[in-house]
């Protein structure tokens, strides 16, 4: 009887104790969802502390992709509770901060970029992804040029050199020969971003410059039909996900990857066993003389408005992201091709890459970079992405036709646009 009372009093005491909040540390906090970015940010923070401000300390927090954006959005919505000072926002999710037409909650960077003379040093098509109504909110990490990564040992062993593929027809022809020899191999795997990036290679996208949704365009549907026909034929395939994906790369089931610059870092992190076996080539074009690249992904670093240390945060971003040293170092650590024009010609971008069979990987990116197509931001992009990824497996499995699915997605988005206008 007394025991119970003591227990109850104890519990209430514990509750009161828990209310006393711990004191926040006096340092800047940065959120990112990519481990390669985190690595680079930590290094840049040390460099900044050495060269600019000895008191500077940056806490780089890695949070899962969906989680990080969800949490950031809620934090900004609730006046900055638990928000970081700086955040990496992926272009596909930035739209959700623009939704409804309100203030996205990030510091406008126009003054920093214009006055510092940085605007013309940045690739404007990339910056457009983080711009809304003339206000720039983010600085792009990577140009995200898309190339064809391939297992040199397999393709060259079969007598083909993907460097010489001028068009996708050349690729498909060679792929047919490889599959004929070994039916278990998937020369082209239709990953979640393939349709989108190939569509941009053709000069189209899911949204156009005016912000209209165009995923149901004739070109978009035809492209998906083409991919599905390749799958039917056995040249293309549906890759496994998660850890099984890397297992498939390692056991030689997957022998190529149509991916952006950031995928090079993913290979090194997740399949170190394959060092010396990969190479990269410009994308085959859709027609002779056509564009040899695309863009895929991209992430902008942004300063959160509610940060108590906006000046320091801006100064750090300028130091790291708007400098030749920072951009070059990022390529050395993560293979992200700089969107910062003065850094593009730096010789350190052209070191031989052991993982890619001693190839000058930077040369491939530099070669195709100027052709990189534009990509347009829309407040509805993240919703379109989630609709599309939900329907994706049905399309791949042939349960529903691309036309049906893409039309349905486009109609939903148009309806949503109308509802919110």
């Amino acid at each position: 009887m007394t025991k119970l009372r003591v227990l109850m009093i104890l519990c209430v005491g514990l509750l009161l104790f828990s209310v006393v909040a711990p004191v926040a540390a006096q340092e800047l906090e940065l959120w990112t969802f990519v481990n390669t970015h985190a690595r680079w940010f930590r290094e840049q923070a040390e460099r900044y502390a050495d060269e600019v401000n000895a008191d500077f300390s940056l806490n780089v927090v890695e949070i899962a992709y969906a989680d990080m954006h969800d949490r950031l959005l809620i934090s900004i919505q609730s006046g900055g509770v638990g928000a970081p000072d700086i955040a990496d926002v992926e272009q596909g999710r930035f739209g959700s901060f623009l939704r409804g037409g309100g203030d996205p909650g990030f510091v406008e960077l126009n003054a920093l970029l214009d006055e510092g003379g940085h605007t013309e040093n940045l690739v404007s098509a990339r910056q457009a992804l983080y711009t809304s109504m003339g206000s720039v909110y983010g600085i792009e990490h990577a140009l995200t040029p898309v190339v064809l990564y391939y297992r040199a040992d397999v393709w060259e062993g079969a007598g083909f050199d993907p460097q010489t593929f001028a068009t996708w027809d050349d690729f498909v022809e060679a792929a047919r020969a490889i599959v004929a020899e070994n039916p278990d191999v998937i020369p082209l795997h239709i990953h979640g971003g393939l349709h989108e990036l190939l569509l941009r290679q053709q000069g189209h996208d899911y949204f156009n410059a005016e912000g209209d949704v165009t995923i149901d365009s004739a070109e978009s549907i035809a492209l998906m039909d083409w991919l599905l026909a390749l799958k039917e034929e056995g040249v293309a395939g549906d890759p496994p996900t998660g850890d099984a994906l890397w297992a498939a790369f390692k056991d030689g089931t997957l022998i190529s990857m149509v991916g952006a610059d950031w995928y090079a870092g993913f290979f090194k992190d997740n399949a170190p066993e394959l060092t010396g076996k990969w190479k990269a080539a410009p994308l085959p074009a859709f027609e002779e003389g056509g564009r040899r690249t695309s863009v895929w992904g991209g992430t902008g670093a942004m300063v959160v408005k509610t940060s108590g240390q906006v000046e320091e945060a801006l100064s750090f971003l300028e130091f790291a992201m708007l400098s030749i040293e920072g951009n070059v170092r990022r390529f050395e650590l993560t293979n992200l091709w700089p969107p910062y024009i003065p850094a593009m010609v730096n010789e350190r971008l052209h070191a031989d890459d052991e993982y890619f069979s001693g190839q000058d990987l930077g040369a491939v990116f530099a070669d195709v970079g100027p052709e990189a197509p534009p990509q347009w931001q829309s407040p509805f992009r993240s919703q379109l992405n989630s609709l599309r990824s939900a329907a994706w497996q049905d399309v791949i499995d042939g349960v529903r036709s691309p036309e049906e699915v893409f039309t349905e997605i486009a109609d939903t988005i148009r309806d949503e646009m109308e509802f919110e206008s």
Binding site: M1, L4, R5, M8, C11, V12, L14, L15, S18, V19, A21, P22, F33, V34, N35, V61, E62, I63, A64, Y65, A66, D67, R71, I74, S75, S78, G79, V81, G82, A83, G242, D243, A244, A247, D269, N270
Partner: protein, 292 residues
């Protein structure tokens, strides 16, 4: 139906030993089969926490861990990815405080309803019963906005307070306390006890059984809750363990061994508590639940 494993009663049919043996075998086989179905995922959680990702995703599937590694636990407990020990501590603080508060509020209101006549009692009872059926999801958005306005976002109080007023608890305690004999209270009053004293010295001790059941129910619900802490808590240092574990799940590279280790550590204490007081808790839990 009477599935009897006992020797045949004298009134009953004469069943051969053989038939009874077959029957018993089938019954035990069913029980063991279900025990396996229930147990194997737990076993896999335990052994998986001693495996690397490569060992988990390899063939053939092995329920045991032939080459156990402690690496997952070392990395989890060192706080390399998330401050997991702290998050478990947060869960303890939240679950304990929430249980204490719920018990206090519920027993007080239950006492008021069980032992007093007052104006508005019938109305309040019916009103409570009526709102009892409204699911909490209805309140999710406004409650979140209120927590923001009160400055309780990312605080333990923001998690605890809204969950500590339980209409179920109120009814539950009223039912338990209504049977306390009125004469005891009258005797107490004659001895000069205050109304609060009667509640604290007679009401609480005499409904210990009900209180312990409610305590277990509330504690379990708070310990395992995911949705509300996910909404209120914003920084990893404040997360409860389910929210923390879930953040590990979405990472670019999913460290299953580490997650399984965390899951195992968080489940173990609950299971141990139940093993220690298994029959008492189980019986009371179910009886309490079925009674309403």
């Amino acid at each position: 139906m009477r599935l009897s494993l006992a020797p045949p009663s004298d009134s009953a049919e004469r069943k051969s030993l053989y038939k009874r043996l077959v029957e018993a075998t089938i019954l035990y086989a069913i029980l063991f089969f279900f025990a396996l179905l229930v147990g194997i995922p737990f076993l896999y959680m335990l052994t998986g926490s001693f495996k690397t990702n490569g060992q988990l995703f390899s063939w053939p599937v092995n329920l045991l861990a032939p080459e156990p590694t402690l690496n997952n636990y070392e990395r989890l407990l060192s706080g390399e990815e998330i401050p997991y020990l702290q998050q478990m501590g947060n869960s303890v603080i939240i679950a304990v405080s929430q249980s204490a508060l719920t018990l206090l509020f519920a027993s007080m209101v239950g006492w008021g309803f069980a032992k007093y006549e007052f104006r508005g009692k019938t109305f309040l009872t019916i009103f409570l019963l009526f709102t009892f059926a409204i699911p909490f999801q209805v309140t999710l958005v406004p409650l979140f906005q209120m927590i923001v306005r009160l400055g309780l976002l990312d605080s333990f109080l923001g998690v605890i307070l809204p969950s500590s007023v339980s209409a179920f608890g109120a009814f539950f305690m009223r039912q338990a306390m209504v049977s306390i004999p009125g004469e005891l209270l009258d005797a107490g009053r004659i001895d000069g006890a205050s109304e609060w004293g009667l509640f604290w010295r007679i009401g609480i001790p005499l409904s210990r059984g009900a209180l312990s059941i409610l305590c277990v129910l509330v504690f379990l619900a708070a310990w395992n809750d995911y949705l509300w802490p996910l909404i209120v808590l914003r920084t990893p240092e404040k997360f409860t363990y389910p929210v923390g574990l879930a953040t590990l799940k979405g990472l670019y590279k999913v460290e299953y061994g580490m997650i399984l280790g965390g899951a195992f550590i968080a489940t173990l204490p609950i299971v141990l508590i139940f093993v220690a007081g298994r029959n008492q808790i189980l019986d009371n839990l179910t009886i309490g639940a079925v009674k309403q």
